[in-house]
Protein backbone atom coordinates (compact mmCIF):
# COMPACT_ATOMS: atom_id res chain seq x y z
CA UNK A 1 0.00 0.00 0.00
CA UNK A 2 1.22 3.45 -0.81
CA UNK A 3 2.26 5.86 1.94
CA UNK A 4 -0.23 8.51 0.71
CA UNK A 5 -3.13 6.05 0.89
CA UNK A 6 -2.30 5.09 4.48
CA UNK A 7 -2.02 8.77 5.44
CA UNK A 8 -5.37 9.60 3.75
CA UNK A 9 -7.10 6.67 5.57
CA UNK A 10 -5.67 7.65 8.96
CA UNK A 11 -6.56 11.30 8.36
CA UNK A 12 -10.12 10.32 7.35
CA UNK A 13 -10.61 8.13 10.47
CA UNK A 14 -9.24 10.90 12.72
CA UNK A 15 -11.52 13.50 11.13
CA UNK A 16 -14.51 11.16 11.63
CA UNK A 17 -13.60 10.70 15.30
CA UNK A 18 -13.28 14.46 15.81
CA UNK A 19 -16.73 15.07 14.23
CA UNK A 20 -18.27 12.29 16.36
CA UNK A 21 -16.77 13.75 19.55
CA UNK A 22 -18.07 17.23 18.69
CA UNK A 23 -21.58 15.81 18.10
CA UNK A 24 -21.55 13.81 21.34
CA UNK A 25 -20.09 16.35 23.73
CA UNK A 26 -21.02 19.77 22.33
CA UNK A 27 -24.12 19.59 20.14
CA UNK A 28 -26.13 16.85 21.97
CA UNK A 29 -28.19 18.16 24.94
CA UNK A 30 -27.07 16.89 28.34
CA UNK A 31 -29.02 14.26 30.29
CA UNK A 32 -30.46 16.94 32.62
CA UNK A 33 -31.63 19.05 29.71
CA UNK A 34 -33.24 16.02 28.07
CA UNK A 35 -35.12 15.11 31.27
CA UNK A 36 -36.34 18.70 31.57
CA UNK A 37 -37.43 18.70 27.92
CA UNK A 38 -39.33 15.41 28.43
CA UNK A 39 -40.98 16.81 31.54
CA UNK A 40 -42.06 19.93 29.74
CA UNK A 41 -43.67 17.98 26.85
CA UNK A 42 -45.52 15.72 29.29
CA UNK A 43 -47.40 18.60 30.91
CA UNK A 44 -51.02 18.32 29.63
CA UNK A 45 -52.69 21.42 28.31
CA UNK A 46 -56.39 21.98 28.89
CA UNK A 47 -58.10 22.98 25.65
CA UNK A 48 -61.55 24.48 25.98
CA UNK A 49 -63.97 22.54 23.76
CA UNK A 50 -67.05 24.35 22.54
CA UNK A 51 -68.51 21.42 20.60
CA UNK A 52 -71.77 20.12 22.08
CA UNK A 53 -72.66 16.85 20.37
CA UNK A 54 -76.28 15.91 19.74
CA UNK A 55 -77.37 13.34 22.35
CA UNK A 56 -80.80 11.74 22.63
CA UNK A 57 -81.91 10.84 26.17
CA UNK A 58 -85.26 9.34 25.19
CA UNK A 59 -86.57 7.32 23.45
CA UNK A 60 -83.94 4.67 22.84
CA UNK A 61 -83.43 3.23 19.38
CA UNK A 62 -85.70 0.20 18.67
CA UNK A 63 -87.98 1.15 21.58
CA UNK A 64 -91.54 -0.22 21.66
CA UNK A 65 -94.16 2.36 22.66
CA UNK A 66 -97.59 1.63 24.18
CA UNK A 67 -98.87 5.08 23.20
CA UNK A 68 -99.26 6.89 19.89
CA UNK A 69 -97.23 9.87 21.15
CA UNK A 70 -93.73 9.89 22.58
CA UNK A 71 -91.49 12.43 24.26
CA UNK A 72 -88.20 13.12 22.52
CA UNK A 73 -85.56 14.75 24.69
CA UNK A 74 -81.86 15.32 24.44
CA UNK A 75 -79.01 17.80 24.42
CA UNK A 76 -77.68 20.01 21.64
CA UNK A 77 -75.81 23.29 21.36
CA UNK A 78 -77.68 26.32 22.65
CA UNK A 79 -79.21 28.38 19.85
CA UNK A 80 -79.04 25.62 17.26
CA UNK A 81 -81.86 24.79 14.84
CA UNK A 82 -83.36 21.35 15.56
CA UNK A 83 -85.52 19.62 12.94
CA UNK A 84 -87.32 16.40 13.88
CA UNK A 85 -88.95 14.43 11.08
CA UNK A 86 -90.85 11.20 10.52
CA UNK A 87 -93.01 10.13 7.56
CA UNK A 88 -96.11 11.48 9.35
CA UNK A 89 -94.87 14.56 11.17
CA UNK A 90 -92.18 17.24 11.41
CA UNK A 91 -91.15 19.88 13.96
CA UNK A 92 -88.64 22.74 13.84
CA UNK A 93 -87.42 24.46 16.98
CA UNK A 94 -84.58 26.63 18.20
CA UNK A 95 -82.73 25.28 21.20
CA UNK A 96 -83.05 27.93 23.91
CA UNK A 97 -80.85 26.01 26.38
CA UNK A 98 -78.46 23.09 26.07
CA UNK A 99 -81.35 20.64 26.23
CA UNK A 100 -84.60 20.16 24.32
CA UNK A 101 -87.82 18.23 24.80
CA UNK A 102 -90.83 17.79 22.54
CA UNK A 103 -93.87 15.61 22.09
CA UNK A 104 -94.01 13.71 18.80
CA UNK A 105 -96.78 11.57 17.24
CA UNK A 106 -96.29 7.94 16.16
CA UNK A 107 -97.92 6.00 13.34
CA UNK A 108 -98.81 2.34 13.78
CA UNK A 109 -95.81 0.15 12.92
CA UNK A 110 -92.24 1.34 12.50
CA UNK A 111 -91.52 5.05 12.95
CA UNK A 112 -88.29 6.31 11.44
CA UNK A 113 -87.50 9.50 13.35
CA UNK A 114 -84.60 11.64 12.11
CA UNK A 115 -83.26 14.43 14.31
CA UNK A 116 -81.01 16.96 12.57
CA UNK A 117 -79.25 19.79 14.37
CA UNK A 118 -77.77 22.78 12.53
CA UNK A 119 -75.40 24.20 15.13
CA UNK A 120 -74.71 27.46 13.31
CA UNK A 121 -75.67 29.22 10.13
CA UNK A 122 -72.29 28.77 8.48
CA UNK A 123 -72.60 24.98 8.29
CA UNK A 124 -74.97 23.18 5.96
CA UNK A 125 -73.91 19.79 7.36
CA UNK A 126 -76.07 18.87 10.36
CA UNK A 127 -75.49 16.58 13.33
CA UNK A 128 -77.83 13.62 12.74
CA UNK A 129 -79.44 10.93 14.90
CA UNK A 130 -81.88 8.40 13.52
CA UNK A 131 -84.20 6.36 15.73
CA UNK A 132 -86.62 3.55 15.01
CA UNK A 133 -89.57 3.52 17.40
CA UNK A 134 -92.34 0.91 17.17
CA UNK A 135 -96.00 1.46 17.99
CA UNK A 136 -97.66 -1.95 17.70
CA UNK A 137 -100.87 -1.76 19.73
CA UNK A 138 -103.69 -3.85 18.26
CA UNK A 139 -106.52 -1.40 19.03
Amino acid sequence: MKKETILATVFGVLLGLIVALILIFFLRPSGKERIEETKSTLTPKVVKNNIVPLEIKEPSDRAISDKDTITISGTAKKGSLIIVESPISEEALTNKNDSFKLSFPLARGENLITIRVYVDKTQTIPQIKTLKVYYLNEE
Partner: protein, 223 residues
Protein backbone atom coordinates in the same frame (compact mmCIF):
# COMPACT_ATOMS: atom_id res chain seq x y z
CA UNK B 1 -125.98 -49.67 74.60
CA UNK B 2 -126.18 -45.96 75.38
CA UNK B 3 -122.40 -45.81 75.48
CA UNK B 4 -122.31 -47.49 72.06
CA UNK B 5 -124.65 -44.79 70.59
CA UNK B 6 -122.62 -42.06 72.21
CA UNK B 7 -119.43 -43.47 70.74
CA UNK B 8 -121.03 -43.78 67.26
CA UNK B 9 -122.33 -40.21 67.55
CA UNK B 10 -118.90 -38.93 68.53
CA UNK B 11 -117.27 -40.87 65.66
CA UNK B 12 -119.76 -39.53 63.08
CA UNK B 13 -119.36 -35.98 64.44
CA UNK B 14 -115.57 -36.18 64.20
CA UNK B 15 -115.77 -37.64 60.70
CA UNK B 16 -118.17 -34.97 59.44
CA UNK B 17 -116.36 -32.07 61.02
CA UNK B 18 -113.00 -33.26 59.71
CA UNK B 19 -114.58 -33.58 56.25
CA UNK B 20 -115.73 -29.99 56.46
CA UNK B 21 -112.28 -28.89 57.59
CA UNK B 22 -110.61 -30.87 54.76
CA UNK B 23 -113.13 -29.49 52.27
CA UNK B 24 -112.54 -25.95 53.48
CA UNK B 25 -108.78 -26.27 53.32
CA UNK B 26 -109.00 -27.77 49.81
CA UNK B 27 -111.18 -24.87 48.61
CA UNK B 28 -108.88 -22.22 50.07
CA UNK B 29 -105.84 -24.05 48.73
CA UNK B 30 -107.42 -24.14 45.26
CA UNK B 31 -108.16 -20.45 45.53
CA UNK B 32 -104.58 -19.78 46.57
CA UNK B 33 -103.26 -21.89 43.69
CA UNK B 34 -105.54 -20.03 41.29
CA UNK B 35 -104.33 -16.66 42.61
CA UNK B 36 -100.73 -17.79 42.42
CA UNK B 37 -101.27 -18.95 38.81
CA UNK B 38 -102.78 -15.60 37.88
CA UNK B 39 -99.98 -13.67 39.54
CA UNK B 40 -97.40 -15.90 37.85
CA UNK B 41 -99.06 -15.43 34.44
CA UNK B 42 -99.18 -11.63 34.80
CA UNK B 43 -95.56 -11.57 36.01
CA UNK B 44 -94.46 -13.72 33.04
CA UNK B 45 -96.39 -11.44 30.64
CA UNK B 46 -94.79 -8.39 32.27
CA UNK B 47 -91.30 -9.88 32.05
CA UNK B 48 -91.92 -10.99 28.47
CA UNK B 49 -92.95 -7.45 27.59
CA UNK B 50 -89.82 -6.07 29.26
CA UNK B 51 -87.59 -8.58 27.47
CA UNK B 52 -89.33 -8.02 24.14
CA UNK B 53 -87.26 -6.07 21.68
CA UNK B 54 -88.19 -5.08 18.19
CA UNK B 55 -86.05 -5.53 15.15
CA UNK B 56 -86.90 -4.90 11.52
CA UNK B 57 -85.50 -5.70 8.12
CA UNK B 58 -86.16 -7.09 4.69
CA UNK B 59 -87.09 -10.76 4.46
CA UNK B 60 -84.33 -12.45 2.47
CA UNK B 61 -85.07 -16.13 3.19
CA UNK B 62 -88.19 -18.02 4.22
CA UNK B 63 -87.62 -21.65 5.18
CA UNK B 64 -89.97 -23.89 7.24
CA UNK B 65 -90.09 -22.36 10.71
CA UNK B 66 -87.26 -19.90 10.23
CA UNK B 67 -87.03 -16.53 8.53
CA UNK B 68 -83.85 -14.65 7.74
CA UNK B 69 -83.93 -10.87 7.65
CA UNK B 70 -81.39 -8.25 6.66
CA UNK B 71 -81.58 -4.92 8.45
CA UNK B 72 -80.98 -1.61 6.68
CA UNK B 73 -77.48 -1.69 8.27
CA UNK B 74 -76.90 -4.98 6.38
CA UNK B 75 -76.93 -7.12 9.53
CA UNK B 76 -78.57 -10.54 9.22
CA UNK B 77 -80.82 -12.06 11.90
CA UNK B 78 -82.43 -15.49 12.08
CA UNK B 79 -86.08 -15.46 13.21
CA UNK B 80 -87.37 -18.57 14.98
CA UNK B 81 -91.12 -19.14 14.63
CA UNK B 82 -93.43 -21.17 16.85
CA UNK B 83 -96.59 -22.82 15.46
CA UNK B 84 -98.61 -22.00 18.55
CA UNK B 85 -97.07 -18.87 20.00
CA UNK B 86 -96.03 -16.71 17.04
CA UNK B 87 -98.71 -14.36 15.70
CA UNK B 88 -98.60 -12.57 12.34
CA UNK B 89 -100.01 -9.14 11.53
CA UNK B 90 -100.30 -6.71 8.65
CA UNK B 91 -99.72 -3.10 9.78
CA UNK B 92 -102.50 -0.81 8.55
CA UNK B 93 -102.99 2.86 9.38
CA UNK B 94 -106.10 2.25 11.48
CA UNK B 95 -105.38 -1.17 12.99
CA UNK B 96 -103.39 -4.38 12.81
CA UNK B 97 -104.88 -7.18 10.72
CA UNK B 98 -104.07 -10.78 11.66
CA UNK B 99 -102.53 -12.72 8.76
CA UNK B 100 -100.68 -16.03 8.35
CA UNK B 101 -97.11 -17.02 7.62
CA UNK B 102 -98.13 -17.79 4.02
CA UNK B 103 -98.77 -14.06 3.47
CA UNK B 104 -95.05 -13.27 3.82
CA UNK B 105 -92.79 -13.12 0.78
CA UNK B 106 -89.12 -12.43 0.16
CA UNK B 107 -88.37 -8.65 0.08
CA UNK B 108 -91.26 -7.90 2.48
CA UNK B 109 -90.26 -5.45 5.19
CA UNK B 110 -90.99 -7.05 8.55
CA UNK B 111 -90.86 -6.15 12.24
CA UNK B 112 -90.27 -8.89 14.78
CA UNK B 113 -90.84 -8.65 18.53
CA UNK B 114 -89.49 -11.17 21.00
CA UNK B 115 -86.40 -12.04 22.99
CA UNK B 116 -83.16 -11.53 21.09
CA UNK B 117 -80.09 -13.65 21.72
CA UNK B 118 -77.14 -12.64 19.57
CA UNK B 119 -78.32 -12.90 15.97
CA UNK B 120 -81.38 -15.05 16.78
CA UNK B 121 -84.85 -13.71 17.61
CA UNK B 122 -87.54 -15.95 19.05
CA UNK B 123 -90.58 -14.34 17.49
CA UNK B 124 -93.63 -13.58 19.59
CA UNK B 125 -95.14 -11.42 16.85
CA UNK B 126 -94.20 -10.75 13.24
CA UNK B 127 -95.54 -7.64 11.47
CA UNK B 128 -95.58 -6.84 7.76
CA UNK B 129 -94.91 -3.12 7.31
CA UNK B 130 -93.37 -0.60 4.90
CA UNK B 131 -89.80 0.69 5.05
CA UNK B 132 -89.11 4.38 5.08
CA UNK B 133 -85.58 5.73 4.66
CA UNK B 134 -84.39 9.28 5.11
CA UNK B 135 -81.55 11.29 3.65
CA UNK B 136 -80.34 14.82 3.14
CA UNK B 137 -78.10 16.84 0.89
CA UNK B 138 -77.79 19.95 -1.25
CA UNK B 139 -79.89 20.48 -4.36
CA UNK B 140 -77.53 20.47 -7.35
CA UNK B 141 -80.15 20.63 -10.11
CA UNK B 142 -83.89 21.34 -10.12
CA UNK B 143 -84.53 19.54 -13.43
CA UNK B 144 -86.14 20.93 -16.53
CA UNK B 145 -89.71 21.24 -15.31
CA UNK B 146 -90.04 17.48 -14.85
CA UNK B 147 -90.41 17.64 -11.03
CA UNK B 148 -87.09 16.01 -10.35
CA UNK B 149 -84.37 17.18 -7.95
CA UNK B 150 -80.75 16.09 -8.12
CA UNK B 151 -79.21 16.07 -4.67
CA UNK B 152 -75.60 15.67 -3.56
CA UNK B 153 -75.80 13.80 -0.26
CA UNK B 154 -73.52 14.05 2.78
CA UNK B 155 -71.80 10.88 1.50
CA UNK B 156 -71.04 12.78 -1.73
CA UNK B 157 -73.43 10.64 -3.75
CA UNK B 158 -75.75 12.14 -6.35
CA UNK B 159 -79.35 10.98 -6.01
CA UNK B 160 -82.37 11.82 -8.12
CA UNK B 161 -85.48 12.58 -6.09
CA UNK B 162 -88.81 12.41 -7.90
CA UNK B 163 -91.41 14.84 -6.56
CA UNK B 164 -94.87 13.30 -7.02
CA UNK B 165 -98.25 14.97 -6.59
CA UNK B 166 -98.63 13.08 -3.31
CA UNK B 167 -95.20 14.15 -2.01
CA UNK B 168 -95.56 16.26 1.14
CA UNK B 169 -93.48 19.43 0.68
CA UNK B 170 -92.38 21.67 3.53
CA UNK B 171 -90.02 24.65 3.73
CA UNK B 172 -88.44 26.43 6.68
CA UNK B 173 -89.54 30.04 6.91
CA UNK B 174 -86.21 31.69 7.76
CA UNK B 175 -87.89 34.62 9.52
CA UNK B 176 -90.31 32.73 11.77
CA UNK B 177 -88.39 29.40 11.78
CA UNK B 178 -91.74 27.64 11.25
CA UNK B 179 -92.40 24.96 8.64
CA UNK B 180 -94.75 25.86 5.80
CA UNK B 181 -96.06 24.17 2.66
CA UNK B 182 -94.07 24.93 -0.49
CA UNK B 183 -94.50 24.58 -4.24
CA UNK B 184 -91.87 22.89 -6.42
CA UNK B 185 -91.00 26.17 -8.19
CA UNK B 186 -89.71 27.70 -4.93
CA UNK B 187 -86.93 25.10 -4.58
CA UNK B 188 -83.56 26.38 -5.81
CA UNK B 189 -80.12 24.99 -6.53
CA UNK B 190 -78.06 25.31 -3.32
CA UNK B 191 -80.98 24.71 -0.94
CA UNK B 192 -80.59 21.99 1.71
CA UNK B 193 -83.06 19.16 1.18
CA UNK B 194 -84.24 16.52 3.66
CA UNK B 195 -86.12 13.67 2.01
CA UNK B 196 -87.99 10.51 3.06
CA UNK B 197 -88.76 7.72 0.60
CA UNK B 198 -90.11 4.16 0.59
CA UNK B 199 -87.67 1.36 -0.10
CA UNK B 200 -89.03 -1.81 -1.70
CA UNK B 201 -85.91 -3.92 -1.15
CA UNK B 202 -82.58 -3.57 0.64
CA UNK B 203 -80.80 -2.67 -2.60
CA UNK B 204 -79.59 0.91 -2.97
CA UNK B 205 -80.84 2.82 -6.00
CA UNK B 206 -79.87 6.14 -7.51
CA UNK B 207 -83.43 7.37 -7.98
CA UNK B 208 -86.22 7.48 -5.41
CA UNK B 209 -89.76 8.72 -5.33
CA UNK B 210 -90.08 11.03 -2.33
CA UNK B 211 -92.82 10.53 0.23
CA UNK B 212 -91.88 13.79 1.85
CA UNK B 213 -89.34 16.61 1.43
CA UNK B 214 -88.30 19.46 3.70
CA UNK B 215 -86.35 22.42 2.30
CA UNK B 216 -84.02 24.73 4.20
CA UNK B 217 -83.41 27.70 1.90
CA UNK B 218 -79.77 28.56 1.28
CA UNK B 219 -80.51 32.08 2.57
CA UNK B 220 -80.80 30.62 6.09
CA UNK B 221 -77.10 29.75 5.98
CA UNK B 222 -75.84 32.91 4.27
CA UNK B 223 -77.58 35.28 6.70
Amino acid sequence: MKLKYILIYIFVFILLSSGIVIGQSTNSELEEIQNFKEKLASKVAELQKKEDKAISGFLILKKDKTLTIETTDNEQFSVELDDLLTKYFQVNVTALKEITLDDFEVDDYIIITGPISGKVITANNVYKDENFTSGSGIVSDTGQGDFVLNVVTLENETLTIDIETATKRKILNIKTLKLEDVGFSKIKTGDVLHFIYKKISNKDEKKYSATKILVIPQEYFSK
